[in-house]
Each structure stands twice: as C-alpha cells, then as structure tokens.
Symmetry: C2
Subunit: 326 residues, 2 copies
C-alpha cells in the first residue's frame, strides 16, 4: 500500500526517524553521532556522553498507574541506562517537563523526589543540573543524560565479533509483566505481583554493570529498551553478525514470570523476548574475557547467517515496542 | 489568598520551579548547576556547557502561525542563545520531539530542515547528535544544547559590578511585535511587516557576540528570553546590583517598531521592555573594556538601590513572559 503523504503511524518510528535524521547536518564535534544509545562529543581536552529520552502521558504512561514519584524515577532510570550502555558513568541530567497549569505543586515536588531518589540510588554522584518547565495539555517529560567515559572507549552496538559470548545484566520481561498486570485491571493480581508492577513503575537498570562490562572488554552493548528480540537485532545489524540465543539460558528469566503469566493467561516467554522496560543491558564479550558477575550468558555471536537473530536455531522475528505503532 | 493545594498557575513558574529544584540533589560534576542560562559540567579533563528548552503546541507556538521549518529553526535558536549567553561556543544538540501519529512525514522533514539550517546559519559546526521521537496528542519539542568554553570561564548572571556598562547585542521587541501582528489577524499588516513576524518565527540570536563578550571580559550575561525588564532583574538579583537603563538609549530599538505599533494600536516601548523572543544578549562590561561592536550600551550598573532595575531613574517593574501565567 502506498500512501501519498504518509504519516509516522503509516511508516513506523524507525523509518520516520531515518528519513528525518538523514536530512540533518553532522556536528564537527561528534565522535559518535546519532544512532547509538548515546552520542559522544569532543570538548577541548576530553569528551562526554549525552542521550535523551521522552515520556508522554497517555502514550508512555498513565497518571492513574504511575505516581509523580514513579515518573521522576523512571525518567532518570531510562536515561542513565543509555549512558551505562555506552560503558560510561552517568554524571548529570537536564530535565524538560511540560504539564497542565492545573497540576498541583505537590505533584511536581513528588516528581522531583523521584528524580532525586533515582539518582542517589541508581547512580550516586549524578544529579539534575538544569531544566525547563513549560505549560501543556498533557504531561511530557524529556530527560537528557550525560556521562563520563573516564578515559575508556565507548562500547558501541557495532563491535560484536563471531565467537563472542552474548550476555544480559538485569532482568527480562518483568516490566512487561507488570504492564500486562496493570492492563488486566485485576486488582488482586496487581497486588499479589507488585514486585513485577514496580519494575514497570521504577525500573532499576544495572548501571554499575555497564561500567564493569566496559572494563572487562565488552565488544558491544546496549540498553534493552524495546525488548530482547528487537534490541538483539540492533546489535546484529550494527555488527554484521548473527546473535544466537539459547532458549534454555532464558529459562531463569521465564521462570520468574510463569506464575503471573498463568494468572492473566499471558505468555512468559513473550515477555522475556519482547518486554523492554526493565532497562537491562545486552552485551557481547570476547572469548577469554572475565565476564562480570552481573551478566548472565544467554548465547553466542556467529558469522552472519540468513537470520540476524536465532532462538535455539530458529529465526527470531524483530518485534517489540514502537512508539507510534505500539 | 492561600490555596490548600496550589497549582503551578496559582504560584507562577518561578515559584513552582524554585520549590521543585529545592528538592533535588546536586551533581558531583556540576561546576555551575541549575539557575543560570546553562550548566557547566566537569569531564575528566575539560568541561562542557549544557542547557535545555521546551516548546509546546498551543502554548508556545501555533501550527497555523509557524511552519515545521520555523519550529525546527526556533528550537535551535532559543537553545544556542543560552549557550552563547555563557560565553561558550555551541557544539552539539539533542532533540526530543513528540508529535501525534497522524503527523505527515513531510512535516518532520521540514522540521529537520529547520534544525539543520539554523545550525548552519547561526552556529556553523554545531549539529544534532541524538534525539528521541515519541507519540503525543500535541507537538512538544525539547532541545538540549551543549557548548565548549574553549578554556574560558563561563559568563554568569552574578558577576555585574557597579560602574559596569550595560549593553545589548541583537534586537529588542521585534519578536513581540511579530507575535502581536499575528494575534491581530490583520493579514495586510502581517504581510507589510513580515520582517518583524519572521523574527518571531525564526529568531537570529547573536551567537558570535556571546563569545566576543566573553573574550572582552563581560562580567555578566544572559539571553533575553523573557523580556529586558524581567531579564535585567535576573542579573540585578544575581549580582546584587541595580541595573540603570537609559530610555534614550532604547530609542533606536523603539523606532524600528513604531510603524507597526501604530498600525495595530500597540506600544513600541512595551515590546522593547517586555518582548523576549528575539533572543538577544544582555551583558555588562567593566569600565575600560573594549565593548564588542555587536553590543549597544543601554545603561550602567550601580550599587544596589531600592529598585533592582531603573528606567531613566524610575523603578522598572519585573514583567514579561511566564509559561503558566502568560
């Protein structure tokens, strides 16, 4: 089907972004520009990492499911996960917030509390260094996070090599499980599995593990924000390799989700493969590397075959979250 | 009047921000944190400047008054003006954009064109290094801009000293005039004064002048984003001085606006004093400094008197743009 003036919904987020970014000029100061988890910018004598992410009411969150504290926490967590995925130490955030004029100050204060607590818990030393507050009809949150590479090279998506071990730090599928529970509307299930719901509301990305992976020589890494299936494709594509995941190695992640999955007639393995909002890290390590304990091996990198990503030998389709298609 | 759960509209933007920021923890890496035009962040061996600004449909712009190109341009201009106001050279931007799914791709492309053209025209070498595209019910644009101090100290709001000369680089009141013309709905007036309307749509902040001011030894500087009256108060307050503006020195700015002001029965001097969106620079220079040619002297800094800002000897009230109050 050809559309004369296609909308973003017609094309999907990736294509819309690609068409948009292709029209931009590059920065003279960009060592790594757009296309990875974060950009690396030269200063006179050193460089810093920067990344930005947006959350919109009614699209990325609901005010009846997330408190202002949750949203502040999540805005920090999602962004520092991208910094960590470069192997960098988060240093500073700026926060752009737009809210209706009728928003209560106590809501703003709780939002700020969430920002602060997430900074102090997830990445001690990081803080909000600026921001903007604007009026809007719905709540918008855009955070830009910065990080320091501390003299190391950034860990990109493009460095995976055949023979590398594929590994995950953090949980898989829990945030998706939590979202499904919220969507089910089943109050007793929501309260019975509140640990899962809380991963959706206040994700805990393994920030330290990102730095450890860099020090251990990780060849590629990213923040699993759109699901293992989709994000493994991103590494496979950027590195021109095949990522071969062993389903047996996912059993531990799956087991944690089976009870709530049965409760609401959902699929635990689907959550593991396509749930992104745990903000865990997916990385590859060369043979012989001492893989940090926070990482669990789930597969290997092979020469590029006919499929970019395999699950126990079968092609794994690229599916997961798209802001516009859903 | 005391309100039990005051809203942002109840308190105004400044107070709402103050209450919010007071609850945040600071960054270990912030040399200059929130409260100025931009924040300064240490990296291992050097530092960079970062600032963020937001534009929301229906609040900060109307899609029938501004094209997508205009909005891309303006998003860049408003942010690099803040970088320039620190005396820094803009280096890189990240852009968070949220739009309805029904937005046409051509709109996004034109937006990107506006980003690119503004970068190349206003600050050659700067570019977009990352971003995020999200779904929303209204258009929301948040840009974070970064800059390099090139070894210089940042020019803050707090350094003005009695005896300094107060000077402006760029125009005053033109964007406000352009907005008033658009609001008047008078098509012939809008087309007769399209140069003024275009300052509203595509401001041209004097970026180079910011760097020149820093080199010339400016003691304080900011981007006039909320109007001369309001922004002069910001320097006066941060520096604990009085800014004494000579109205005669504003005559040149006023003269440029008198024709369109008469046409729609408005006040040219009000636009000069309260119109902010030209994104010009207000700076102070010590006696003996060679003031860059881009700057026009408009007054002097004196010891703090009873009023923070004087206009030809009379107290000038602090008025101008507030995102929530209007």
């Amino acid at each position: 089907m050809t559309v004369e003036n296609p909308t973003i919904a017609d094309l999907g987020e990736n294509e819309a972004l690609k068409r948009t970014v292709s029209r931009l000029n590059s920065s003279d100061f960009a060592i790594i520009g757009s296309g990875d988890d974060a950009a690396v910018i030269a200063t006179n004598a050193d460089r810093f990492v920067v990344t930005t992410d947006t959350m919109v009411e009614g699209h990325d969150f609901r005010l009846d499911w997330s408190t202002a504290f949750d949203l502040g926490w999540k805005a920090v967590a999602t962004n520092i996960a991208d910094v960590a995925a470069m192997g960098a130490r988060p240093t500073a955030l700026v926060v752009a917030l737009a809210v209706p004029g009728c928003t209560e100050i106590s809501w703003l204060e709780a939002f700020a509390d969430g920002l602060r607590e997430a900074c102090q818990t997830l990445a001690p030393g990081v803080g909000v260094v600026g921001g903007d507050l604007a009026a809007a009809d719905q709540v918008f949150i855009a955070v830009t996070a910065h990080g320091s590479l501390e003299g190391r090279e950034p860990v990109l998506r493009s460095g995976a090599k055949p023979g590398d071990t594929v590994a995950v730090a953090g949980t898989l599928g829990r945030a998706a499980c939590g979202l499904a529970l919220l969507q089910s509307g089943e109050a007793t299930a929501i309260s019975a599995y509140d640990d899962w719901v809380n991963v959706q509301r206040r994700p805990q990305p393994p920030v330290k593990a990102g730095i450890e992976a860099s020090i251990a020589g990780a060849t590629s890494m990213l923040d699993i924000s759109d699901g293992l299936a989709k994000d493994a494709h991103r590494i496979a594509r950027a590195s021109e390799v095949t990522i071969a995941i062993d389903r047996a190695q996912l059993a531990g992640f799956e087991a944690m989700l089976e009870e709530p999955a049965m409760r609401i007639a959902a699929s635990a393995i689907e959550w593991v493969l396509t749930g992104g909002e745990d903000h865990s890290l997916l990385a590859t390590f060369p043979a012989g590397a001492e893989i940090p304990r926070a990482f669990k091996p789930i597969g290997v990198v092979t020469e590029r075959g006919s499929a970019a990503v395999l699950l126990s030998g079968e092609p794994l389709t690229e599916r997961g979250w798209d802001s516009f298609v859903g």
